[in-house]
């Protein structure tokens, strides 16, 4: 399970959802694996950026023993290799409209920051372990990369 998923998960128990302590779920006893993907999807990273709960992701990275994430989230510009964007901007300065924009994006190269973010959010996966609710303490098992949120009958 990609770490990005944790950005969109909380406890399945209804009464927990209103409690701030239920987000994020805390990984415990986790075995990680890196699943390499073909390439960095820069437009995807740029667009997902405003959705990231950065402070919570820092907590998760810390709890998993991963290298610390920067204290502030990167900006969209931080994700683009400076040399790649400046040349394309100049070469397309005369053009107007979406075609130029599309071409410019296509020629942009991901920066080291983008590659690092891609690595931690999309390539770093929890293979086995548990996700624990900080509010009620319920543990959800992760097995073979799939987290199981089915609740026992008395908790539904």
């Amino acid at each position: 399970m990609k770490l990005l998923t944790l950005n969109f998960l909380t406890c399945a128990i209804k009464t927990c959802k209103t409690s701030p302590a239920s987000f994020p779920l805390h990984p415990r006893d986790c075995e990680l694996e890196v699943v390499e993907s073909e390439s960095v999807n820069l437009p995807f990273l740029k667009n997902i950026l405003p959705r990231l709960m950065w402070d919570e992701l820092r907590v998760i990275a810390d709890e998993l023993g991963l290298p610390a994430l920067p204290s502030t989230p990167p900006t969209r510009d931080d994700l683009v290799e400076p040399s790649s964007s400046s040349t394309t901007t100049i070469s397309h300065a005369q053009n107007a409209g979406n075609a130029a924009e599309g071409q410019q994006q296509a020629e942009e190269k991901p920066s080291q920051t983008a590659r690092d973010l891609h690595r931690v959010l999309l390539e770093t996966c929890i293979k086995e372990g548990k996700l624990v609710c900080g509010n009620c303490g319920h543990e959800y098992k992760v097995m073979e990369g799939v987290a199981n949120f089915l609740l026992p009958g008395h908790l539904v």
């Binding site: 998960l9 995807f44 740029k46 667009n47 799939v146 009958g153």
Partner: protein, 263 residues
């Protein structure tokens, strides 16, 4: 849970979940083609949209648009079977994610998604209250609109099987009983138990009702509530949603809904 609710859940466990567990790989092999309206809904989302596919089955919709992020979920009662069944297929698509969850107890923060899809799921719930609750669970995932009357919030696409399908081979139509048991026949299975080679699996044929039964055939019955015209829209309204578009496609009713803003 109230007693009637417990009964509903138990009924669905027996007549929906445990059936899918047994027919999963066959069912999945017949469900690979995305439906056009669902495909278009997903393709038209802005890049970077985040959402859920509640009841993702084999995950066929996860592959439609790689510039959005979908958390697919489905439920199966036996965890050991899960990891080799539908969810495993679902998690192979990039960059999406798949989890095991119940559609009435979804583990997502409320009002956080740009979109949600619920394709052929709600008709498996066995009481009117549970169907409305399931629609509400989908709508509650959505970002609310910024102002009253505004439709800039998250959007949900919901699909259910229609009662009106007189041209289908099942032939149901207006006036027919809406709560039905639908057979799924697995034909020609000669070995028992879970261990079997891939070749065997490919030779097995899936034939739905109308087939001539042989000794080895096994028929599974799944529960469905067939929706009649206007019923899906009513469930959505009752669940606190506003229908922005609705229609009928190939034996199914569908609707796109947003969360109604209540100031």
């Amino acid at each position: 849970m109230a007693e009637s609710d417990t009964q509903g859940a138990d009924y669905e466990e027996q007549h929906v979940h445990s059936v899918y567990e047994q027919i999963a790989s066959h069912f999945s092999s017949t469900r690979y083609k995305p439906w056009p309206i669902v495909e278009r809904f997903l393709q038209e989302l802005p890049d970077g949209s985040v959402g859920a596919d509640v009841g993702c089955g084999n995950g066929k919709y996860l592959a439609v648009n790689r510039n959005i992020f979908i958390v697919g979920s489905d439920r199966y009662a036996l965890y050991q079977i899960l990891s080799t069944n539908l969810i495993k297929i679902a998690k192979q698509h990039q960059p999406h994610a798949a989890i095991v969850a119940d559609s009435l107890s979804l583990p997502h923060p409320a009002h956080s998604f740009d979109f949600a899809i619920s394709i052929a799921v709600i008709h498996h719930l066995s009481t009117p209250a549970r169907r409305v609750e399931a629609v509400k669970a989908v709508l509650d995932l959505l970002r609310p609109p910024s102002a009253e009357g505004s439709r800039d919030g998250g959007k949900a696409l919901i699909y259910v099987w229609a009662l009106e399908q007189k041209d289908s081979r099942r032939g149901w139509d207006e006036g027919h009983e809406q709560d039905v048991m639908v057979p799924w026949v697995m034909k020609g299975k000669k070995e028992k138990g879970s261990k079997k080679g891939k070749g065997q699996e490919e030779r097995d044929q899936v034939v739905e009702e109308g087939a001539v039964k042989q000794a080895e055939d096994k028929t599974f019955l799944r529960y469905y509530h067939l929706y009649k015209k206007g019923e899906l829209e009513r469930d959505i309204e009752e669940a606190g949603g506003e229908v922005v578009q609705a229609g009928y496609e190939k034996d199914n009713w569908w609707a796109v809904a947003v969360l109604k803003r209540t100031n």
